[in-house]
């Protein structure tokens, strides 16, 4: 099955990339407050079991995809 992992800078963590994006959006005339930039990781898993998939994805996030000091993550399993 397929899944999407969203990795975000934790609240309170300085996100200079997000600051640059929001400043650029304001230059373009958009009325925006803070923007935060994270990452999207689309993963194809061998398993079709949602419980097993979620458990594997959590292990992936804890070991590699996110750094718990500065990032949070959210897992979305794609409904087939």
């Amino acid at each position: 099955m397929k899944a999407t992992v969203l990795v975000r800078p934790k609240p309170g963590i300085l996100d200079p990339q997000g600051q640059a994006v929001s400043s650029s959006l304001r230059h373009l005339g958009f009325d925006v407050g803070e923007t935060r930039v994270g990452k999207v990781v689309d993963v194809e898993l061998a398993t079709d079991d949602p419980v097993e998939a979620r458990s594997q994805l959590e292990a992936m996030c804890d070991r590699l995809l996110a750094n718990p000091l500065i990032e949070s993550y959210a897992i979305e399993l794609d409904a087939e």
């Binding site: 963590i13 300085l14 200079p16 990339q17 640059a20 990452k39 590699l64 995809l65 750094n67 000091l69 500065i70």
Partner: protein, 235 residues
Amino acid sequence: MTPDERPLIAVVVFPGSNDDRDAQLALDRLGADARRVWHSDSALPPGTSAVVLPGGFSYGDYLRCGAIARFSPILGAVGAFAAEGGPVLGICNGFQILTEAGLLPGVLRPNASLAFVCRDVPLRVEQTDTPLLARCRPGQELVIPVKHGEGCWFADDELLAELEAAGQIALRYAAGSNPNGSVADVAGVTNGAGNVLGLMPHPEHAVDRLLGSADGALVMGSLVDAARMSVAAAV
């Protein structure tokens, strides 16, 4: 080991390392036998008495700096070497890899300015109990270049207070000279035992006055001394 024998120091080379030869040259000039070791080796060369993780852009800095290199086979051997008290120095990308590997506290983030900074910076030595800064005096100012886009060291308030209390903040940028927005002006930290040091500035680029400063030789030379002592202890 007698003072004229050259301790073997392994300089790990990752795909994308680019300061390994400078580190090797600096260490050789300071009396070591520095050898470059490929990241996919699973063991350090027999007789290794210190390890350097050099600067560069391992794996293109993909995902997060150091996040992929930390799973290189050699890192298992480096971790075991460090756990036994072996001296390990991580410079720039090497520092990033050591934090991702959990061998050093904190994490390196994109510079607050979002700009890549490349210039000499003044540093203050905060800790000389670590063998890796033993040639320095407490409070000594060193001028050593930085060159990085992601050198903003971060730890939350609780971790920072712990590290300050434990004396693990080894180097700070001098007041007003923080090039990247790092928390508490931190430029380098050690592990709890003091045998692993990571820093963003590049001591291997400052070992000759012709290059603007020889202050980096105090750091690289401390590593050579530590390597000699670690060989002596093993004999």
